[in-house]
Amino acid sequence: MKRRQFQNQLAASLGMSALGSGAWMQKASGAQAAKVLIIGGGFGGATAAKYLKIFSKQHIQVTLMESEKTFISSPMSNLILGASAQLKDLEFSYSGLKDRYGVELVQDRAIEIDFQKKRVHGLTHKNIPYDKLILAPGMQMIWGEVAGLQEARDQQLIFQAWDGSRDILKLQAQLASMQNGQTFVLSIPESPFKCPPGPYERASQVASFFKKYKPQCKVLILDANQDVLSNGASFKRFWSENFASIIDYRPQHMVTSVDAQKRVIGLEIQDDLSYDVANILPPMRAGDIAFQTGLTNVNNKWCGVDFSNFESQKAKDVHILGDAIQGAPLMPKSGHMANAQAKVLAAALCAEFMDLPKDPAPFLTNTCYSFLDDQTALHIASVHQYDPLEKTYKVVPQSSGVSLRPSVEEARQAKDWAQHIWADMLS
């Protein structure tokens, strides 16, 4: 064989190998497997990481970038305030994603995205490449919407404890230090915000704690909304039957300022109020990395996406899920919803890498449980079907529903749900 012939054969063989390696590699930037980088290790990001590996049969290289070393669940964390759960019950390692599924873990905070070069920069890790980027940054409080709140937070006088952090222990300590007869104020921002039933569950848990240990204490709920946003009838009935002397619910009360030194809250319309311990939840928007990179194109707060594959309306090959997106009608910002979106997105990306047609009928399921005290809970559930004509998700008629009454059985189901979904995302 002449040298020229051999070289031709070698080149042909190399070419065939490249083709034979499949579309996974054609989509990638070189001879390596397609790279998906995920920013944010919450319900959406962690689930996406695991299911990209599972659905692709390990053919995608997945990196999960998360600033925290461990995952702390926001769902169920209100039980800590009711003294029926501990933080250790809600804290989990990410190691299962690495050890069982081969997800690469990068502990760092993403601070910059180069959409042209497809690179992400963290505080310590620079130039992390991607073929597809998934943003699951959760939500961020807008401190400036309540005057004085940032200062109160900086001075460690007011804690939100709304994002699955150890702040829940600081809020618990504040409650524990209250004198019998003092007032706890919980303020709720206008919808949308993360976990619609969450504030009402929190009020119930604090009331349950007071009823047991400080029966003269009060829970004052200042709600910027017209009414209780989720399971309203059940919550209010339970409060009147069990916490009538403790919970004072005031709708259409929007908090606009706080003086944490004097312990005074300012309201948009009503007179100022004094408090002893406050848990002020300001309005929220998408997490910082989405906001700072210009992806929050809806009201400058939330990220608009193409619901067929959750691709950003602002940046190609960037997909966003969870609390950060502008949801479809009646789509809640919940952990379960982020978990479901992540699976739909993982399948969509696998299909795209394989040049398969899009899923003609993706759907999402959601369940949110709320504990009323340490014994009983209720739920809200729904199924959301993608409508390809209107390019959005719609709640399937008859599927959406709530509990008629809180029950011990639903509390058991809620605890089962938590164990299953934590395992589903991390184990």
């Binding site: 064989m1 051999f6 054969q9 070698l10 063989s13 190399l14 065939m16 190998s17 034979g20 390696s21 499949g22 579309a23 996974w24 299911y51 599972i54 659905f55 692709s56 049969k57 053919h59 379960h336 978990n339 479901a340 699976k343 739909v344 993982a346 399948a347 696998c350 299909a351 394989m354 398969l356 899923d359 009928a361 993706p362 759907f363 999402l364 399921t365 369940t367 739920h379 559930a381 729904s382 199924v383 079907q385 399937v396 008859q398 599927s399 959406s400 529903g401 709530v402 509990s403 008629l404 639903e410 189901q413 089962d416 749900w417 299953h420 979904i421 395992a423 589903d424």
Partner: protein, 110 residues
């Protein structure tokens, strides 16, 4: 002028031969793109795993029983039962798809 006979067994060219053979074999094994069968069936079924384990949904059931159970949940008079509400959100095709996945004889494979 005397010329040495060419042989593929010569060390230099032998190395090329081995390399070519390796690439040929590699190519033969990698002709097909990685298979990801039933992608959407698996994705749809995975939604159930937010609340259930794979084994609890698959063990000891046949397809008909699986379908009947979901239909019974759809028709349940307990309108506020969480699984009845979820089941009512599934259409016939989705129920059959889930039944096919979870009751496959060789066991469900995500």
């Amino acid at each position: 002028m005397h010329q040495r006979p060419t042989s593929w067994l010569e060390p230099k060219k032998g190395a090329f031969f081995v390399l070519a053979l390796y690439l040929f074999v590699l190519n033969a094994f990698s002709q097909e793109a990685p298979k990801i069968p039933n992608l959407y069936e698996r994705a749809h079924a995975s939604l159930c795993l937010s609340c259930h384990t794979l084994s609890s949904l698959s063990q000891g059931r046949d397809k008909d029983a699986f379908i009947k159970q979901l239909l019974a949940l759809q028709m349940s008079p307990k309108k506020d039962h969480v699984m009845s509400q979820i089941a009512r959100g599934l259409n016939q095709d989705q129920i059959i798809e889930l039944a096919n996945f979870f009751t496959r004889q060789e066991g469900p494979d995500l």
